[in-house]
């Protein structure tokens, strides 16, 4: 039993690939510097802003962008659209890479990472009130689950390996995996539901210092919906780029159907945010047009714009508009999360934060690594759907 997916093949060390590797190298230097000199020397963090770019972007926004696996799995498995659906594997790969790198970022961001092993082990010390503990354990578990969900792709490659030992292992492991996968996949939907909503709950603890636009007990629901929306957008983004760069067949029909659903999700999200704010009587603050109002309005615009674009069926079926809408949506959802963790947080007027150069380099390196690893895996393993039949290829080339 094999999927329709095939390794892309081709040379690995292209020029853009080497450039990305250089960025990853720069990240390595930042990591070494941070390990030697501490967080004060390498970041702009302070006692007022103890969390900065690495948490707000790499972890809180990054894992939401890595929710493609979650969003597509919900559709494909719960709504039963076939196990080897061509969108699933690339989405899972992006998710697995995104979550792994978010976990790596946390290890670099925390001050005492050499004690992190205690989190999953020292059950007797668990503080069950700590939302961060739940998020941390959940993200650790989900990262493992994602790689297991993706393992059929690696086993498929293993079965075709020239090395008999590897082939034997892959052949023996495949049926076991087939049986287990259902429960793993269910876990792969439960865990993000838990920790993506809890990432919202977390900031409720900072409530007194959080701007009212963002401080609402509905944070968990808003975070859950935003990660689903961003997950779908990320799938459209990744799928469009893959079909462009690796000359795969476009998935426009599927993506258009997907975005038809998105319209409703977006309308619900935007409507709920404005309505809830109105109910709390905080809408009038928008008239001040201060920093907070501008960021809030930008978020709403970045949800409304893709909503309007996707509402038209014609535009949904146009790959270019679809891609643009997805890009806007990734920005909008990302901004919402980024704002909740950084912009909305006010520790007092005498504190300020703007990421330092090493912080920016690190984040850039994380993104570069994800792209490098994605290219490597799709070239070597069956992730993307195979080449289209000859006539379709001719049409694509024309």
């Amino acid at each position: 039993m094999t999927s329709q997916a095939q390794p892309v093949g081709g040379p690995l060390l292209t020029r853009p690939f080497k450039f990305l590797l250089a960025l990853v190298g720069a990240m390595g230097l930042v990591v070494a510097w941070r390990a030697a000199a501490g967080l004060g020397a390498t970041t702009a963090l302070s006692d007022g802003y103890p969390w900065g770019l690495w948490i707000a972007f790499d972890v809180v926004t990054g894992t939401a962008l890595a929710c493609g696996g979650y969003a597509v799995a919900l559709l494909v498995y719960i709504l039963n659209k076939g196990r080897y659906h061509p969108l699933v594997r690339p989405a899972l790969l992006t998710s697995a890479l995104g979550y792994s790198m978010a976990g790596f970022s946390v290890l670099i961001d925390v001050g005492r990472p050499w004690l992190a092993w205690k989190l999953p082990i020292q059950v007797w010390n668990w503080n069950l009130n700590s939302i961060l503990l739940e998020v941390a354990l959940c993200i650790m578990a989900y990262t493992i689950v994602l790689w297991i969900e993706l393992s059929p792709a690696f086993l498929e490659a293993g079965r075709q390996s020239a090395r008999p030992r590897l082939r034997g292992f892959a052949e023996r492991a495949t049926p076991v995996m087939e049986r287990l996968l259902l429960w793993i996949v269910a876990l792969g939907m439960l865990l993000p539901t838990m920790h993506q909503s809890s990432l919202g709950t977390m900031m409720l603890l900072s409530g007194p210092r959080l701007h009212p636009f963002w401080n609402t007990p509905w944070l968990p629901l808003l975070f859950l919906v935003s990660c689903l929306a961003m997950g779908y957008a990320a799938v459209i983004f990744e799928s469009t780029l893959s079909s462009h760069f690796f000359r795969r067949p476009r998935e426009t029909r599927m993506l258009a159907a997907l975005s038809g659903v998105m319209v409703w999700v977006l309308a619900a999200f935007g409507g709920f945010r404005l309505g809830e704010l109105a109910l709390r009587g905080e809408l009038a603050r928008l008239a001040r047009l201060d920093r907070y109002a501008l960021f809030f309005l930008a978020e709403i615009a970045l949800v409304a714009l893709p909503l309007l674009m996707l509402a038209s069926r014609a535009r949904r079926n146009d790959p270019r508009s679809l891609f643009q809408a997805a890009l806007l949506l990734m920005l909008g959802g990302g901004l919402y999360r980024f704002d909740t963790y950084l912009v909305a947080f006010n520790p007092g007027d005498h504190w300020s934060y703007f990421p330092a150069v090493p912080e920016l380099l690190f984040t850039l390196g994380i993104v570069a690594f994800e792209i490098v690893a994605y290219i490597f895996v799709v070239k070597k393993f069956p992730i993307l759907r195979g080449q289209p039949p000859a006539p379709a290829r001719a049409a694509a080339a024309a």
Binding site: G38, D47, G111, S130, I131, V185, A186, S198, L205, V225
Partner: protein, 297 residues
């Protein structure tokens, strides 16, 4: 892929149930933690303080902290302007026209603290006598305590490769030797005194009743943020001294109510997992093994 909106919405509702069900209980009153009778704290009377900062130096010495000379670079004069990894206790001056008032900042030792609620392994925890104390062996350095504390008290050793969280622990190492907290011991005016929270609160109220003209008619910390063990009396409004208006609910109560609402007895996640598993199982059976082959290209 033909997508049925109705079935998608149903799926989303299932997934969102856990989050949504938590909202129903937000309105429930949070269980208030009453401070134990042996709970200790301090009472700082801003009207008695003369701003000599003897307590700042005594605190530094008692806790073995480096001198914070950043304000006077190159001189042997420690003058911390804010709480930091080198100052667990600072005196600040509030000035408005002729009117001045002093303010002492250190850990408030909340009755129901946000930092201990945040802390993953209980590195920050209320231990003996209700003191919020720190155990570095349980600290990963995540700094969620700093994000959570509405007073901005926990600080971090930013300049170290093996950093710790630094905050006032009410000189618990001195208390076990039968000595007073260093700031209390050294204060020449008894502007800050030490005792059980109950006694300090009674003393604060006695002063308010005896000199109503001298004070803002409130003991800060009696109910603020669910109550603190360090209490304040002052002649100027407390916000001006940098003490935030928090209401009477404990700071962590909203987050806790939402979180425990969603995860009560871990029922919702288990139910959701069972539901997801059941749907997947049904789908697989219904689709049969040949489902994989009939993918449209």
């Amino acid at each position: 892929m033909a997508l049925d909106r109705r079935s998608l919405l149903r799926g989303l509702v299932t997934a969102g149930t856990a989050a949504a069900s938590g909202q129903a209980v937000v309105s429930e009153a949070a269980v208030r933690v009453a401070p134990a009778p042996d709970t200790v704290g301090m009472l700082y009377d801003s009207t008695l303080c003369i701003g000599c900062k003897a307590c700042v130096e005594a605190c530094r010495e008692a806790n073995g902290l480096e001198a914070d000379t950043a304000y006077f670079p190159g001189e042997l004069y420690q003058a911390p302007v804010a709480l930091s990894a080198r100052a667990k206790n600072v005196i600040k001056l509030y000035r408005e026209g002729e009117k001045t008032a002093f303010m002492k900042a250190q850990c408030m030792h909340c009755v129901d603290p946000a930092c201990t609620s945040a802390c993953m392994l209980g590195a920050l925890k209320k231990r003996e006598k209700g003191i919020v104390s720190y155990d570095a062996s349980l600290c990963i350095g995540c700094r969620y305590c700093q994000m959570a504390c509405p007073f901005g008290v926990p600080t971090f050793e930013w300049s170290k490769a093996a950093p710790k969280i630094v905050k006032c622990e009410l000189c618990r190492h001195r208390l076990v030797e039968g000595r007073l907290p260093a700031c209390v011991e050294v204060c020449p005016r008894q502007a800050v005194i030490y005792g059980t929270r109950a006694l300090l609160l009674a003393e604060a109220k006695r002063r308010l009743a005896a000199h109503p003209d001298r004070y803002v008619p409130k003991v800060y910390g009696e109910h603020d943020g669910g109550g603190t063990q360090v209490l304040y009396l002052a002649a100027v409004p407390f916000e001006k001294l940098g003490l935030p208006e928090l209401g009477t609910e404990p700071v962590p109560s909203t987050a806790r109510t939402v979180q425990h609402g969603i995860y009560k007895g871990f029922v919702a996640p288990v139910a959701l997992y069972a539901a997801l598993g059941a749907v997947l199982f049904r789908n697989r059976r219904r689709a049969g093994p040949e489902a994989e082959e009939e993918e449209p290209s």
